[in-house]
Symmetry: C2
Amino acid sequence: MDMLKRKILESGRYLGNGILKVDGFINHQVDPQLMDACGAEFARRFRNCGATRILTAEISGIAPALMTGKHMNLPVVYARKHKPVTMPDDVFLTLAPSHTKGRTVELIVSPEYLRAGEHILIIDDFLASGATIAGLVRLVEVAGATLAGIGALVEKSFEGGREMLSTPGLQIESLACITRMDESGIHFDD
Amino acid sequence: MDMLKRKILESGRYLGNGILKVDGFINHQVDPQLMDACGAEFARRFRNCGATRILTAEISGIAPALMTGKHMNLPVVYARKHKPVTMPDDVFLTLAPSHTKGRTVELIVSPEYLRAGEHILIIDDFLASGATIAGLVRLVEVAGATLAGIGALVEKSFEGGREMLSTPGLQIESLACITRMDESGIHFDD
């Protein structure tokens, strides 16, 4: 998706160690028009996936998931990393290692909002090692729901997340796929 | 705003101790169409406030702030509660007591996205005691920016946040103002 790639080239910065700084438009400051356009693009790509709900992980998955939900007219659930007092005692919980945080985080969803028989579209900001998204997939499975597809704003293909998550027939979409980042710049797959 | 009040009456639940469960449409599952409508309503109420940027706090402020930013065509910054590796070493940081968490949380904004001379509109999900929003106001002040207004989806007027935050000429808007919650139900100000 050209608009996102252009923004990454203009405002993103490679910090070394595989870390891409996109906090000017994705995960600290957010560009609402860009997110709206990304949501529309996900809605277009997943228009036939039959999803009944969208699942993401707090924090930085919320913006792209919300805009996708708006365009697909679907409710959006974000997995919490800490159980709030408003959540029931019995929850779906899984652990996911966080690369950027250097520790394991919990992903928690209330059974009120993830039900057996549903068809769930997962949307997140990054698809890198795939560890967070794999955690969301486990939540879908443990709830007795099925997976409608996986979408990420930015993929770092060299971290192998797509291969790890891939199963026959599963649609995985990223709007900007980075194949290489180094001193020479950020390189996309086309 | 009738749409939000109706949703609170239909799907909200009073859990006792001043806690309103709205995790079916605001802070775990999000209703994108409702948020979009709330963003449009904030944009209408603050159309003359001259804001240059919107500031909120992660996590549950992101959805209403993002939709408001979309309708006002303004960038949205969410204060982080943990400093990510992509943030510079020198940041704006303040502490805010969190009622629902029972502890103090950090609110951190990068100076890249909150600058002197700007006019900042604060949007959050709840205006209760006002402690979180007061923290955001301090970040605005320490950055050398000025306050364009404060908007919250849900106000609990009995917790006194509005009085605490109020200064002459400051526009404070809530889309659903709860004056009382008890076994008999949830009562709005009109």
